[in-house]
């Protein structure tokens, strides 16, 4: 609870700091806020508690995911020092909105009541609609914001209807009570199943799983790159944390009902994202499709629904975030340098002139592709092991094939950086920017070498 209050207080404080209009204060304040919150979060480790009539629970599961959300946000904020260098207006508001998003994320990682789930998802989404359109003079950014809002509203309505139907059947919002209701009722009413389907749809939209992924490429591409990195990481971590919490607690005893649906969605997600990514020319769009495909892999962890799942999902989301942030970071630098050209060709010959950027980018890409000694390999490994453990062998083999397919499009980018000739020039890397990139890269490698320390947490 202290962490939740702290993040809200720092968010509000940032709004006041806007008055000074000095970035020298705004940024450090945001970082301090995140650090303080991180400290408060970590202090709750091994101290499970519940508050407000059991509406919010703090357990190791939520602490781990919250910490990983804070870490990702921290890197995004650090990168923003450079990204918003020339922007005079609204930087503090943008930071505050980021913190409010994190607030929403906290709500859904630790919810135990459906009302909190809905409230959290809304608190997570509404600042993001604004952030997506925060590049006000860019038509693409406006379009992204509007699209995200339209479709997000649609998905929220569906989720809400789902929650209502489940409430209508079980007469409770509390997860444990719903679970009891499921276990003690012989013949569950149809509206309960409908509710599950609609909730599943709402979640699939938030985590961008096919066929509810359509917004992702457009919104990711149109939004300011830094915001895309933020969306791709924080929303995904929080979304999957909540997804797994709900389906593993309330609906776990009727898994036979929803698992086939998830099964189909996984196949569809992996197929669509990987094939679509093969044909992309723009790096940003490619990363968007890659993000969809990661959602497909993560769903494997949910469908597995065994004791390996929570750790696997946590490891995967963390590894994915630590790869995504530097990838977008490098993209920001290259794009700025190449007059907003984000095609793969813009990366030609990067390794020669900017070896550091090329190495950071390759580690990130290798991690996303799941090549060993990066975190991504074990991320996929744990998820696959969890799925195999639950007997989803065909699905796992399919996912392995999809992962191999994925290697090819990441490889196109690697190829451009290392083996192609380009007129790339030396790009000056701002200090904070470079340090953040390096830290994420080192963390990715460290997680790949010592995966056990992370996986053992949950």
């Amino acid at each position: 609870m202290a962490a939740l209050i702290s993040i809200a207080v720092f968010g509000i404080a940032l709004l006041y700091i806007e008055l000074t209009n000095s970035k020298k204060i705004q940024l450090p304040l945001a970082v301090v806020g995140l650090l303080v919150t991180l400290g408060l979060t970590v202090m709750q480790w091994n101290h499970p508690s519940s508050s407000f009539n059991n509406m919010a629970v703090t357990d190791n599961y939520s602490v781990a995911f919250n910490a990983s959300i804070l870490l990702s946000t921290m890197f995004v904020v650090l990168l923003s020092a450079y990204y918003y260098e020339d922007v005079k207006q609204h930087v503090a508001e943008i930071m505050a909105l980021m913190l409010f998003t994190v607030f929403g994320a906290f709500l859904i990682t630790s919810f135990s009541n459906m009302i909190m789930l809905f409230l959290g998802i809304e608190t997570l989404s509404i600042p993001l609609y604004v952030l997506a359109g925060s590049k006000k003079f860019s038509l693409r950014s406006n379009e992204a914001s509007f699209k995200y809002f339209l479709m997000g509203a649609f998905a929220s309505a569906i989720l809400l209807l789902g929650i209502t139907l489940v409430y209508g059947a079980s007469a409770t919002f509390q997860l444990s009570a719903i679970s009891d209701y499921v276990n003690n009722t012989k013949q569950l009413p149809g509206i309960f199943y409908m509710g599950i389907i609609l909730i599943l749809v709402g979640f699939s939209f938030k985590v961008a799983a096919a066929p509810f992924h359509f917004w992702t490429p457009d919104v990711y591409e149109g939004s300011p790159t830094l915001i895309t990195a933020f969306m791709a990481t924080v929303v995904k971590i929080a979304g999957f944390a909540a997804f797994y919490r709900l389906f593993s607690s309330a609906f776990s005893s009727i898994a036979t009902f929803w698992e086939p649906l998830l099964w189909g969605m996984i196949i569809l997600t992996l197929l669509i994202s990987n094939f679509a990514a093969l044909l992309q020319k723009g790096v940003k769009r490619l990363l968007a499709y890659s993000s969809i495909s990661h959602a497909g892999f993560l769903l494997l962890g949910i469908i597995a629904l065994n004791k390996l799942s929570a750790g696997g999902i946590f490891y995967y989301t963390l590894a994915y975030s630590l790869a995504t942030i530097p990838a977008f970071g490098v993209l920001i630098l290259v794009k700025n340098h190449r007059n907003s050209d984000d095609s793969i060709d813009a990366f030609n010959g990067l390794a020669k002139k900017n070896p550091l950027l090329a190495i950071v980018m390759s580690v990130a890409l290798l991690s996303m592709a799941g090549i060993p000694i990066t975190a991504g390999f074990f991320a996929k490994y744990y998820i696959f092991v969890a799925a195999i453990d639950s007997g989803y062998i065909l699905l796992t083999i399919f996912a392995v094939l999809a992962a191999v397919l994925g290697v090819f499009y990441y490889f196109r980018l690697l190829n451009a950086m290392f083996l192609k000739e380009g007129e790339a020039e030396k790009i000056k890397i701002p200090v904070v920017f470079g340090i953040s990139l390096l830290i994420t890269t080192i963390l990715t490698l460290a997680m790949g070498v010592f995966p056990d320390y992370i996986i053992k947490l949950l």
Binding site: F146, L200, F212, L308, P372, I373, F384, A386, I388, V404
Partner: protein, 629 residues
């Protein structure tokens, strides 16, 4: 003591990689070469120490790596005769090639990067051979693939090299996919991927078990890719685009033998899968003869050696398929010596000729490059299988095993050996005898390589000459000490059995030597006496010659079977779907969303309502599912 610090062995090359990549700007080229060599030399000493102190299996446990539920994978190294042998080959030959590279790459502006990559390669290769489970092996496997890819494309200004790197990458991914599926299946079948769990568990499995057969077949696909066997061999000749020391180290002596090592390591599984072994015999023998026949007419010095490597790897596969795992490992060892020597010799020749690679533009280099000449001769004799050079012993052992299994295998293998002998001596005579056929500019430039390059040649020549005595056959009163040494690591061997009568074996040896000598004589007649020089590119070739000269059009075949249909699919079909189906649907649906005004029209140009339609339909589909269950 040494066993306790064995985990440090791979760290040295990793350290070298770090130093050389971060100090890229600071360290001079020579210095970085020396550091890199040193970082391979120290593990070599360690490996020798292990060789003398370890005779059985020692597991070096580092830390608990992964524990996910029932699956427990520690980070462990396995030190046993098999891994020590490989470590000695990797670090020994690797060290010599590093030293050679100091001279060879001295003028390249990116030499530091080159040494960093080489060190990284050695690191991954050591992981591969030392790992005590399939996962570490796989990590090394992927790592060496990555290094190979980086080093093939090292001179990336040339797009052809770039394509070669890509080809190697794609072909290896196909193989790796098999390998990975094999590991997953193994995890499922045995509940573990640790050698120490899988191998004893396999002991209780009946021979011909379907699961084991499938696992071994999948692992074999991985080995086919990495060790360049039919049908995944075409990347290796193209991989010669990389710098010559890379060809010597990665594409001849070490990385390509990883597949052999992996199968030998899994020997207990393979000895339980007769079907897989049969497949391996066929593939190995076919590759051995097929690649050798292509080598007969190649004119690029490195291409000849590349096809020769493919062919020799085929012999090793033949031995693996026959269950003669120690013979395969013996050939790996001797082959590492003489093939590395051949490549380095070729590098020395190319160095002298300003990177000329076409043997039609060489000739008469015997006097100008005396050391290269003598060492190259030793290597040529070794690969051709002339006693008492190392290749004779290792190849003859494989052929004897083949004869014991089925005499017709021996006949086919012998034909391959004849081809090998012929193309090697053709190459040798064309390069070193006759008159110089290059430009006068080159002729003026020709010089023997510096000491830093010739010393590794001499050391390797000694090894190529004496290497055969490691496993001196029983027939000459030897103890087959190499096979004995490896015994604790391998299963399903022919230990203690006399396979074929000594008389027969002697007869086979004698006949093969006589035939080989005849071939050498014929080659002498054709290329030295008559001074025949292969026709140049423009000459029209006919019939079989045309077929062989063009490598049986395998590349073209692959191109038309796989690449073109794929391109056709992606260009025609997918773009058609994209244009007609998607756009068509989108256009009709998308129009709803145009509300008013131009700005809004632009805003809605994406197809939000189409997306919503799809979502609605998906929900409908889910509800239909609900009604069905």
């Amino acid at each position: 003591m040494i066993q306790k610090i064995a985990w440090m062995i791979p760290l040295f090359p990793l350290l070298g990689f770090i130093i050389n990549s971060f100090g890229r700007k600071i360290i001079s080229r020579n210095m970085s070469g020396i550091i890199a060599s040193l970082m391979v030399f120290i593990p070599l000493i360690f490996a020798f120490d292990l060789f003398f102190s370890v005779t059985d299996k020692v597991t070096v446990h580092l830390f608990n790596w992964i524990s996910a539920g029932v699956i427990n994978i520690p980070f462990e190294f396995l030190i046993d005769p098999l891994s020590i042998t490989m470590m000695l080959v990797v670090t020994g030959v690797g060290f010599l090639i590093h030293v050679y590279s100091i001279g060879y790459m001295g003028h390249d502006e990116h030499a530091n990067t080159f040494f960093a990559y080489l060190n990284l390669f050695i690191f991954f290769m050591l992981l591969l051979v030392m790992g005590a489970n399939y996962l570490i092996l796989f990590i090394g496997w992927e790592g060496v693939g990555l290094c190979s890819y980086l080093l093939i494309g090292f001179w990336y200004k040339n797009t052809e090299y770039n394509n070669a790197a890509r080809k190697a990458f794609v072909m290896n991914r196909i193989g790796d996919l098999g390998f990975l599926l094999g590991i997953i299946l193994m995890l499922f079948a045995f509940g573990s991927v640790n050698f120490k769990d899988v191998f004893p568990a396999a002991g209780s499995v009946q021979s011909g078990n379907v699961t084991v057969t499938i696992i071994t077949l999948l692992l074999m696909i991985g080995a086919l890719g990495k060790s360049a066997q039919i049908p995944l061999y075409t990347w290796l000749p193209d991989a010669m685009a990389g710098p010559t020391p890379v060809s010597a180290l990665i594409h001849a002596a070490t990385m390509v033998t990883a597949g052999i090592y992996m199968i030998a390591r899994s020997s207990i599984l393979y000895s339980l899968a007769p079907i897989t072994s049969g497949v391996i015999v066929v593939i190995g023998l076919a590759t051995a003869v097929f690649a050798a026949s292509i080598g007969l007419l190649q004119n690029d010095i490195k291409k000849v050696l590349a096809y020769s490597t493919v062919s020799q790897l085929g012999y090793m596969f033949l031995a693996l398929g026959l269950g003669a795992y120690s013979s395969a490992m013996f050939h790996v060892t001797t082959h590492a010596f003489f093939k590395a020597l051949l490549f380095l010799g070729a590098g020395s020749v190319m160095h002298a000729l300003n990177n000329g690679q076409d043997i039609r533009g060489m000739g008469g280099l015997r006097k100008k490059l005396p050391i290269t000449f003598i060492t190259f001769l030793i290597a040529t004799l070794a690969i051709s299988g002339i006693p008492p050079f190392s290749g004779f012993f290792s190849k003859d052992e494989i052929l004897a095993k083949a004869f014991a299994s089925n005499p017709s295998l021996w006949v086919v293998g012998m034909i391959g050996a004849l081809f090998t002998c012929f193309y090697m001596f053709r190459l040798f005579y064309l390069v070193f005898y006759g008159k110089f056929r290059g430009t006068s500019e080159q002729e003026a430039h020709v010089h023997e390589s510096p000491l830093v390059m010739t010393i590794p040649l001499i050391v390797l020549a000694v090894l190529a000459f004496l290497g055969g005595f490691l496993n001196f056959p029983a027939i000459f009163g030897g103890k087959e000490s190499f096979a004995e040494y490896l015994k604790p690591s391998l299963a399903g061997q022919y230990y203690g059995k006399e396979l074929i009568p000594h008389q027969t074996e002697l007869l086979l040896m004698a006949s093969s030597v006589i035939i080989l000598l005849a071939v050498i004589f014929i080659a002498w007649q054709v290329f030295v006496k008559r001074g025949t020089v292969p026709a140049d590119e423009t000459t029209e070739r006919k019939g079989l010659v045309k077929l062989v000269y063009n490598k049986y059009f395998i590349d073209e075949l692959y191109n038309s079977i796989f690449v073109k249909p794929y391109n056709f699919l992606s260009e025609k079909v997918f773009s058609w779907i994209d244009r007609v189906v998607i756009d068509g649907i989108v256009n009709s649906f998308g129009e709803i969303s145009i509300i008013c005004g131009r700005s809004v029209r632009k805003l809605q140009n994406g197809n939000t309502s189409f997306y919503l339609f799809v979502m609605a339909w998906a929900i409908v589909a889910m509800f239909i599912y609900l009604m069905l269950v």
